[in-house]
C-alpha cells in the first residue's frame, strides 16, 4: 500500500534547514548555546557536544543537537538537554543519521508542548523503546511529532506505539506502514488512544436504538477513517447496507455518541420514509444536492411527527448562521437549518423561498415527489444568481446526514445493484456528471481519491478470498503492559471443519470397549438422580415419624418440642452444560512416544470417549476446536453445537480435525465463553484441552498471550462460568497453572493415558 500520508503543516522533515544554516559553525553554536545553561552545566554540555562531534556520525547530527538542545533547558531542564545526547547517539547507531538528526528538533517540539519533566521523560522512553524494537519506524514517528504530541499524552503515545508493535509482529514493512499512518489500523488506534469515540465502540447500542425506534435491522459496516475518499466522510446507504465512518473527527465523548445516534436516526428516517428512489434524469449536481437536502428535511419532518424527541437530537448539529457570504454550501446549510428549526430566521430571499415552498400546505409531505419539484426550481434560482457550486468538494451538512447517494436511481447501473461497492460506481458517476459541468479539477485530490479507492477495493477483495466461512467476530485483547483491553483487537473466524470419517469415532469406542463399559457404569450412578430423603425438616411433604415421636416425648416432658418434624424428598438434578475447546495447533501433530499416535490423535480419542459420556449423561454439551494465524485470523471450528445431537456429522467433524497454525488461546476462549454464556444451566463449564502455552506468529512477547488468557479466565468466573484445563504437556514451564489457577488444571504427563483419564476426570469434575 502506498497510501497518501497526510503531512500536516507542522510536520518536521529532516531536510528542513533553518535560514543561515550553512554559515553557522559548530563552535559558534556552542558559544550561543552555552548562555542557556546554568554555570554548573556548561562544561558538561560542552563535553557531550564534543563527544557527539567526534563520534563519527557526520557533521549534521552534532550540529542539530547543539542547535536545539539548549532550548530544552528552558522548557524542561538542563539535565534533559544533556541526557538527550545519549538518545541521539543511540538513534545514530541503531537507526540512521536522518532520525538522529531529527531527534533533537522533535524533542524541542515535545518539550514545548509538554513542559513537564516526567511527561518528557516518558516520551523519550517510548522513543527509546521504539528505537530498540522497530528502528525503521523511528523516522516516520519523529516526522509526525507535532501531530502526535498535540493529540496524545505521552502515556497514550506509548500505548499507541505498543498497539503498533503488537499488531505488526516483527514485520518491518507493516511497522513502517503503521507508524507512517499508511495502515488504516494506525489511524484507528490513534483515534482510540486520543479518546475519540469510534463507531465500533457504539455499534451495538446504536443498532439496538434503530431496532427500538423502527424495528429496523439494516446491515452496518464501518468505513475505516483513512481509506475513505472525501465523499465517504458521511454515512452512506447503498442497497440497504449502511456504511458509517469510523469516527467523526472533532466530536468527542458524549457529542460523538450523539452524532452517531443522530446519523443513524436520520438513516432510519430514510429507510422508513424514503420509499422511492429519485430518477436522475437530466438533473444538474446542484439540483441533485437540493433535492437530497429537501428529502432529508422531509423524512426528518415525518420522523419528528412520530418521535418529537428527535428534534433535540438533530437540532444541535444545525449551526449555520443567517449571515455571511452567500456561497452555495453555506446557503444550503442555512436552508437545511431553516427547514428543521422554526426559530431560525433567515432573511435571505432564496432561503425564505425554499422554506415557504417546503411548508406550502398544498404539498403532500408523505410524497417524495415534492422534493424533486421544489429542488429543481430552487436549483434554477441559484443558477440565475450565478452562484458557483462545486460538486466535487461539496459535503453534506450538517455532518450527521448521509451522503444521499442511496436516494438516487442512476438508471444504467441497474445490473450492479447487488454489488456492494456500488457506492464507488455511483460516486464516480457523480464525478463524471460534474466534470461535464465543471472544468476545474484538482489533480492531486483526484489522485488521492483514486488511491484510497483502490486500497479500499483491495481490502474488500482480500477479505472475500480469505473469509470463506460465515462468522467473523471481533474480541478485545488484554495487554498487561498497559493494564487494559484493546477493543476489537482480534478476530475470530468460524471456518467449516473438515469432514472426516465418522466411523473412526465408532472404532475408537470399540477399541476402548472396556473403558466404555466402565464409563457406562459410572454414568448409571451419576445419571440416575435417586430421590434423597431429607429428615427433620421444618417444611416437608410428609411427617417424619421419628421426629414426631421425639417431639411428642419432649412435649410430655414439658420441654419445647423441636418443630422440625417433616421429611421431604429431593431429587438431585444434573444441571450443567459443557463446552469442550480443543487446541489443534501445529504442535499437536507431534508424535507421542509409547502411544504411536500424535497428540491430536489422542485428543480426538479422548474427546470421543468424553462425548460419549456426556451424551449418555444428557448433559448439554458443545465441542469446538481452535488454532490461530495472527490476531486477525483466529480459526474456530464448531464440531458440535449445543442443542444439536451428537450425530454422525458431529463425529465426522471430530474425526476430520487437523493440527495446524498457532495457539491464541485467550481469543478462542472469549468466543467459546460468549457461546457458553447463553446456556441456561446452573453450572457452565469450559473445558480447554491444550498441549502448551499460548503463542501466535505475530506475538513476540511470551507473557502477553498468557496474561490475556488469564484475564479471560477471570472474566469468565465473573460470569459464573467455570474453566478447567487439561494440559497435555510433560515438563517445561507450566503456564497453564498461571492461566487457570492450580486447582483448575490437570496435567497429564503420560499422554497415552489421556483417552481414559479425560472421561473420568470429567465425571469427577461434574459429580
Amino acid at each position: 500500500m502506498t497510501a497518501s500520508t497526510t503531512r500536516g503543516k507542522y510536520n518536521v522533515s529532516p531536510q528542513s534547514k533553518e535560514p543561515g544554516d550553512p554559515d553557522e559553525g559548530f563552535l559558534f553554536l556552542i558559544d550561543q548555546g552555552k548562555v542557556h545553561f546554568p554555570a554548573q552545566y556548561v562544561a558538561l554540555w560542552e563535553r557531550v557536544c564534543n563527544k557527539l562531534e567526534s563520534a563519527g556520525y557526520g557533521s549534521l547530527i552534532p550540529l542539530s543537537y547543539v542547535r536545539h538542545s539548549p532550548k530544552l533547558t528552558k522548557y524542561i531542564s538542563p539535565e534533559a538537554a544533556i541526557n538527550l545526547a545519549a538518545c541521539v547517539s543511540l538513534a545514530a547507531i541503531k537507526v540512521n543519521r536522518a532520525a538522529a538528526e531529527l531527534l533533537p528538533k522533535a524533542s524541542v517540539i515535545v518539550a514545548h508542548e509538554l513542559r513537564s519533566t516526567a511527561a518528557f521523560n516518558s516520551w523519550m522512553e517510548t522513543i527509546e523503546e521504539l528505537v530498540q524494537a522497530a528502528p525503521e519506524s523511528v523516522l516516520p514517528v519523529l516526522e509526525r511529532t507535532q501531530k502526535i504530541i498535540s493529540t496524545l499524552t505521552p502515556e497514550q503515545f506509548k500505548s499507541w506505539v505498543l498497539a503498533g508493535l503488537r499488531s505488526t509482529g516483527d514485520d518491518t514493512l507493516r511497522q513502517i506502514q503503521y507508524f507512517s499512518f499508511a495502515d488504516p489500523e494506525s489511524e484507528k488506534w490513534f483515534r482510540h488512544e486520543a479518546g475519540d469515540v469510534v463507531f465500533t465502540d457504539l455499534d451495538r447500542r446504536l443498532k439496538l436504538y434503530l431496532i427500538s425506534l423502527w424495528n429496523l435491522r439494516p446491515p452496518m459496516r464501518d468505513l475505516p477513517a483513512s481509506t475513505s475518499p472525501l465523499s465517504l466522510r458521511r454515512i452512506s446507504i447503498t442497497n440497504g447496507v449502511v456504511r458509517v465512518p469510523e469516527v467523526f473527527p472533532g466530536f468527542h465523548g458524549q457529542q460523538a455518541e450523539n452524532i452517531f445516534r443522530a446519523g443513524l436516526a436520520h438513516v432510519g428516517a430514510h429507510l422508513v420514509y424514503s420509499t422511492k428512489k429519485f430518477p436522475l434524469g437530466e438533473l444538474k449536481p446542484i439540483q441533485m444536492a437540493l433535492v437530497s437536502l429537501l428529502e432529508d428535511a422531509r423524512v426528518e419532518y415525518l420522523a419528528m411527527q412520530a418521535f418529537p424527541g428527535l428534534r433535540d437530537l438533530w437540532l444541535p448539529f444545525h449551526v449555520a448562521k443567517a449571515s455571511g457570504p452567500k456561497l452555495v454550501p453555506h446557503l444550503l446549510a442555512r436552508l437545511a437549518r431553516s427547514l428543521i428549526d422554526e426559530n431560525f430566521r433567515d432573511r435571505d430571499g432564496w432561503v425564505q423561498k425554499g422554506k415557504d415552498m417546503f411548508f406550502d400546505s398544498a404539498n403532500d409531505i408523505t410524497d417524495p415527489a415534492m422534493c424533486r419539484r421544489i429542488g429543481v426550481l430552487l436549483g434554477n434560482d441559484l443558477g440565475q444568481l450565478r452562484a458557483q457550486f462545486n460538486a466535487k468538494t461539496y459535503v453534506v451538512e450538517p455532518p450527521y446526514r448521509d451522503d444521499n447517494m442511496g436516494l438516487w436511481d442512476f438508471g444504467d447501473q441497474q445490473g450492479e445493484e447487488e454489488d456492494e461497492n456500488g457506492i464507488f460506481i455511483e460516486a464516480m458517476r457523480m464525478d463524471q456528471q460534474e466534470e461535464q459541468d465543471e472544468s476545474s479539477q484538482d489533480q492531486d485530490k483526484q489522485e488521492e481519491d483514486e488511491n484510497s479507492e483502490q486500497q479500499y477495493h483491495a481490502r474488500e477483495s482480500t477479505d472475500n478470498e480469505e473469509r470463506e466461512s460465515e462468522v467473523a467476530v471481533r474480541y478485545p485483547e488484554y495487554d498487561y503492559l498497559t493494564g487494559s483491553e484493546r477493543p476489537n483487537w482480534t478476530c475470530v473466524i468460524e471456518y467449516f471443519a473438515d469432514y472426516g470419517d465418522p466411523y473412526k469415532i465408532d472404532r475408537i469406542l470399540e477399541t476402548h470397549s472396556e473403558l466404555v463399559n466402565q464409563i457406562t457404569n459410572l454414568i448409571q450412578t451419576a445419571k440416575v438422580s435417586l430421590p434423597e430423603r431429607l429428615h427433620r425438616q421444618s417444611v416437608g411433604e410428609s411427617l417424619d415419624i421419628d421426629a414426631c415421636i421425639n417431639a411428642v416425648i419432649s412435649r410430655r416432658m414439658g420441654q419445647t418440642p423441636d418443630p422440625r418434624i417433616y421429611s421431604t424428598t429431593e431429587r438431585k438434578h444434573r444441571d450443567l452444560s459443557v463446552l469442550v475447546l480443543l487446541d489443534v495447533s501445529n504442535s499437536t501433530n507431534d508424535i507421542v512416544p509409547h502411544a504411536n499416535a500424535s497428540v491430536l490423535e489422542l485428543e480426538i480419542q479422548a474427546t470421543s470417549l468424553l462425548a460419549y459420556a456426556m451424551s449418555e449423561l444428557n448433559d448439554p454439551f458443545g465441542i469446538a476446536a481452535f488454532c490461530s494465524d495472527g490476531k486477525e485470523d483466529v480459526h474456530y471450528y464448531r464440531i458440535k453445537n449445543f442443542g444439536e445431537p451428537y450425530d454422525s456429522s458431529a463425529r465426522a467433524y471430530l474425526a476430520g480435525l487437523q493440527g495446524k497454525l498457532s495457539t491464541r488461546m485467550g481469543t478462542a476462549m472469549r468466543h467459546a465463553i460468549s457461546e457458553l454464556a447463553a446456556q441456561h444451566t446452573h453450572r457452565r463449564l469450559l473445558l480447554v484441552i491444550t498441549d502448551g502455552e499460548p503463542s501466535d506468529v505475530d506475538v513476540e512477547d511470551r507473557k502477553y498471550l498468557v496474561e490475556d488468557a488469564r484475564k479471560v479466565v477471570r472474566s469468565a468466573s465473573r460470569l459464573g462460568i467455570d474453566t478447567f484445563c487439561v494440559g497435555l504437556e510433560a515438563g517445561g514451564e507450566n503456564y497453564l497453572n498461571g492461566i487457570f489457577g492450580k486447582k483448575n488444571v490437570a496435567m497429564i504427563d503420560k499422554l497415552n493415558r489421556l483417552p481414559e483419564r479425560l472421561p473420568m476426570l470429567y465425571l469427577r469434575l461434574t459429580a
Binding site: I211, S212, L310, E541, I565, T568
Partner: protein
C-alpha cells in the same frame, strides 16, 4: 365448607381485547380446563378474576414456584395437640367445594408436581389423595385454569406434552394501542394523551424483544409508569424507573432504550 371469602365481590376492571370473554364462558359450560397464554403483565390474572366475578364463582389462585411440591397443592398431614390431622391444600379445597382454581405460571412448578392435575383435567374429574386414601370427586363448579408464558422460560422449563394436551387455550397479547391507552388511563388516572405516549414508548421496548430484552414493557409496567406520573413524577423519570431500569442490566440496551424513549418525548 364455605368458600365465600374466595368470592370476588367488586367488579374487577377488565377491558376485553377480543372475544376471550365469550370463549371462556363457553368453556365454562363444560368446565373445560383452560390455559391462558401470553406475555407477562398483559392481563391474564385480571381476566381470571373478572371471569370469576362474572360467573359468581369463588377463585382460588395458586402462584407456582420452583420449590412447590404436590403436597402444597393437594394437602398434607399436620400436627395438632392430639396427633396428626389432615389439611386440604388449595387445589383440594377447590375440587371439594367447587371453585375456579387458577394455577399462575404453572411452568415454574416442577414437572412432577403439575402431573397431579392430570386426573382432574380429563373426563374423570377426580383427585386422589393417596396419603389419606381418599378420592375426591370434583364439585360441579370446579374448573381449572392455568397461565402459561411460553416466551421467557428456557427449554428446560416447559409443560409436558401430556399436560399441554389437556387444556383449551386462549392467547393473550398486549391490547391494541388505543385500548391499551384507555386501560392505562383508567388504572392510573393520567389523561389519555400521556397514556397514548406511554403506549408509544412501550412499542420501543417491545421492538427490542429478542434483541437484548426477553420481554418488552408490559401493560402492567406502563400502568406503574403512569401511576408515578400521576403523582407528579416527570415522564422521563417515570419511564426510567418503571420501564427501563427494571427490565435490563445491559448497559447498551439500557442506553438504546433510554435514547429511544427520549425520541418519543
Amino acid at each position: 365448607m364455605n368458600l365465600d371469602h374466595y368470592l370476588i365481590t367488586d367488579e374487577p376492571y377488565y377491558s376485553p381485547t377480543q372475544n376471550e370473554v365469550a370463549l371462556f364462558e363457553a368453556a365454562w359450560v363444560s368446565r373445560m380446563p383452560m390455559m391462558l397464554k401470553g406475555p407477562t403483565g398483559c392481563g391474564k390474572t385480571r381476566f381470571v378474576e373478572y371471569m370469576a366475578w362474572k360467573l359468581k364463582k369463588p377463585l382460588i389462585t395458586i402462584s407456582c414456584h420452583e420449590d412447590m411440591t404436590a403436597s402444597d397443592l393437594v394437602g398434607r398431614y399436620l400436627l395438632d395437640a392430639d396427633g396428626t390431622v389432615w389439611h386440604d391444600g388449595p387445589l383440594t379445597l377447590a375440587v371439594r367445594y367447587g371453585a375456579i382454581c387458577y394455577l399462575d405460571e404453572i411452568v415454574e412448578a416442577r414437572q412432577d408436581t403439575s402431573v397431579v392435575i392430570h386426573s382432574l383435567t380429563d373426563d374423570r374429574r377426580i383427585l386422589s389423595l393417596e396419603k389419606k386414601n381418599e378420592v375426591v370427586k370434583a364439585h360441579k363448579d370446579f374448573q381449572i385454569v392455568i397461565s402459561y408464558n411460553p416466551g421467557y422460560q428456557s427449554v428446560l422449563k416447559d409443560l409436558k406434552e401430556s399436560t399441554k394436551q389437556r387444556f383449551g387455550a386462549i392467547d393473550f397479547n398486549y391490547p391494541k394501542p388505543e385500548l391499551e391507552a384507555e386501560i392505562i388511563a383508567h388504572e392510573s388516572g393520567v389523561d389519555k394523551k400521556i397514556a397514548a405516549k406511554l403506549v408509544q414508548i412501550s412499542e420501543r421496548s417491545r421492538n427490542l424483544k429478542g434483541h437484548g430484552l426477553d420481554e418488552g414493557a408490559s401493560t402492567r409496567m406502563l400502568i406503574y409508569a403512569a401511576q408515578l406520573i400521576s403523582q407528579g413524577v416527570s415522564m422521563e423519570e417515570a419511564c426510567e424507573v418503571a420501564l427501563v431500569l427494571p427490565i435490563t442490566d445491559d448497559h447498551d440496551v439500557r442506553n438504546a432504550l433510554s435514547s429511544a424513549i427520549a425520541a418519543c418525548m
